[in-house]
Symmetry: C2
Subunit: 326 residues, 2 copies
């Protein structure tokens, strides 16, 4: 069943069917009704493929991220998908993992499918060897980076002011009398560097001690690191992390040593994920505005697609969420 069949049955030309299908005006009311009747009769659904042949678009965008099982990515992806759906776009989801070849493969698939845009969530393409392909693609397809940054034509970014969040966290803890800080982070992404910078910047403003460690992602790595640190005699009264899950690992380790949180040691997570209310005590954390990020990324994209002028960089302010660990 195609547009010809409909046209024949409705006694009109395919052009007319196309017109009512796309609501593009210039159809007499009575003609329209005639066609619509046939359309409904057969429950006709036009082929996006054939349409794409002409318009060179499938009204589809690709969202590329490391791993959707990570709550941060899941939240942002959800927000993007929902906003896009309102605009009539579908979303192709790509979990690249950390393998470079995988990333290239996904990129290629998206280009083949002529997606209207690619949205990078996190910075799955921070590896320099991926710069060339990304720049190449950007020649024909706008790219939006959520929580990442890339200075290049047709590449836009939406970021959370992560560094500010860390600064404010340190400020707050210092005001609470803390003076010996630990910062645990697990990723050297754009966002990861921002957080780190914010932390370093903040502690340098005060006369406080600070230690910084890069660890593997996950609860266990954090637990083990803190254990090792404690066993080695390091003392601290505040721990900041780049991820809620890391903070929970810290909490668990602290509990095993019978530290009082937050009296003896304060702990702050990052992202305000559901994890932060699952642990005990409930985790103070940073609301990194995951929903907003997705929504605004799509707003930027929409403008770009409409040919409107858009600033290459949008920054969103995070918010501190205080619960029981500070």
């Amino acid at each position: 069943m195609n547009i010809y069949d409909i046209a024949k049955e409705a006694n009109v030309s395919i052009a007319t069917v196309s017109r009512v299908l796309n609501d593009s005006g210039n159809v007499r009311d009575i003609t329209r009704q005639k066609v619509e009747a046939v359309l409904k009769k057969y429950n006709y659904v036009p082929s996006a493929i054939a349409r794409g042949m002409i318009t060179n678009s499938l009204k589809t965008i690709g969202i590329v991220t490391i791993d959707i099982r990570n709550l941060y990515y899941a939240n942002v992806a959800h927000s993007i998908e929902q906003s896009l759906s309102v605009l009539g776009f579908n979303t192709i989801l790509c979990n690249t993992g950390y393998d470079i070849d995988q990333k290239i493969k996904y990129l290629r698939m998206l280009v083949e499918k002529k997606v209207d845009s690619i949205i990078l969530v996190g910075s799955p393409f921070k590896d320099p060897s991926l710069d060339k392909p990304i720049e190449q693609i950007s020649k024909n397809t706008p790219i939006i980076i959520v929580n990442g940054h890339y200075e290049y034509p047709n590449i836009y970014s939406v970021q959370c002011n992560d560094s500010k969040a860390l600064e404010k966290s340190v400020d707050y803890l210092v005001s609470k009398g803390k003076n010996s800080f630990l910062y645990l982070y697990d990723a050297e992404t754009f966002s990861g560097r921002q957080k780190l910078l914010g932390f370093m910047n903040a502690v340098s403003k005060y006369n406080v001690k600070s230690e910084i460690f890069l660890i593997k992602p996950g609860l266990e790595a954090a637990y083990n690191k803190v254990k090792k640190l404690l066993d080695s005699g390091l003392a601290f009264d505040a721990v900041l992390t780049s991820e809620d899950l890391t903070a929970i690992g810290v909490l668990k380790c602290l509990a095993s040593y019978n530290f009082q949180v937050p009296e003896e040691v304060s702990v702050m997570g990052f992202n305000n994920s559901v994890l932060s209310i699952c642990c005990t005590p409930a985790l103070s954390t940073v609301d990194s505005k995951m929903e907003d990020m997705g929504r605004i990324a799509v707003k930027v994209l929409h403008k770009v697609l409409k040919g409107e002028k858009v600033e290459a960089n949008t920054i969103i302010e995070p918010e501190l969420v205080f619960r029981e660990t500070t």
Copy 2:
């Protein structure tokens, strides 16, 4: 840049270019090399749309679920997406939420895009008013239901033996001397009913008390329910739930009443999500084999697509995971 341009530059016909592009044999080695050189020179990527025009497929499948922010869905979706990617398929992600019109809209978009299959994760289409569209679509497109069930031609399902999981949990807790059970569940999906059945079936085998409550999803609803129950004087020594998050709400409430877990009250969650290791004490739960479900769903789909015969129903056995709450 299209296949004609490549053909011209390589001094061959478009058919030959198509042949090397699809690696479909019948090309002399020297010819192939000539073409490949041009292909590489322009970094040529064929149009999946034009190809789809002929093959009537974009090598894309739709995965439809309620909300990817839910860890269960995220895990299954991730597993599906990864397995599909290996087979050269892309995944369109749809978060339907609970609105019926949304669901219809998503279905229509997927049909327009001629997806090779639709995978339903959870049972986003359990509403009877959606039966007609689903059955209609199944006439042309195989449908796979992950943790749901629908007896109909060209609809296949992969499910976890959730009822068995609940039975085994009760068995175990009875063997531990528990005799007064509470079951809290938050969804009347197919899977939700299976769990419920399993619970009822199990408690009926023993001389134990049991109460069952349907509550809203989330930590807070569980917390409030248990609080109300406790305040009303209800006594129990074991709580089972249909979700880890619910169990954590229970745990939090129990803690606020200074109950010893598991000595006085045992608690079990469901899904073995990351949440279960975040709470304190760490939650005993059911590994509902999220990864396996996705992987097997794709295996089933692949067979269906190849025209092989497949059993309409695949059942996976869950596993109990004992941590600190039992």
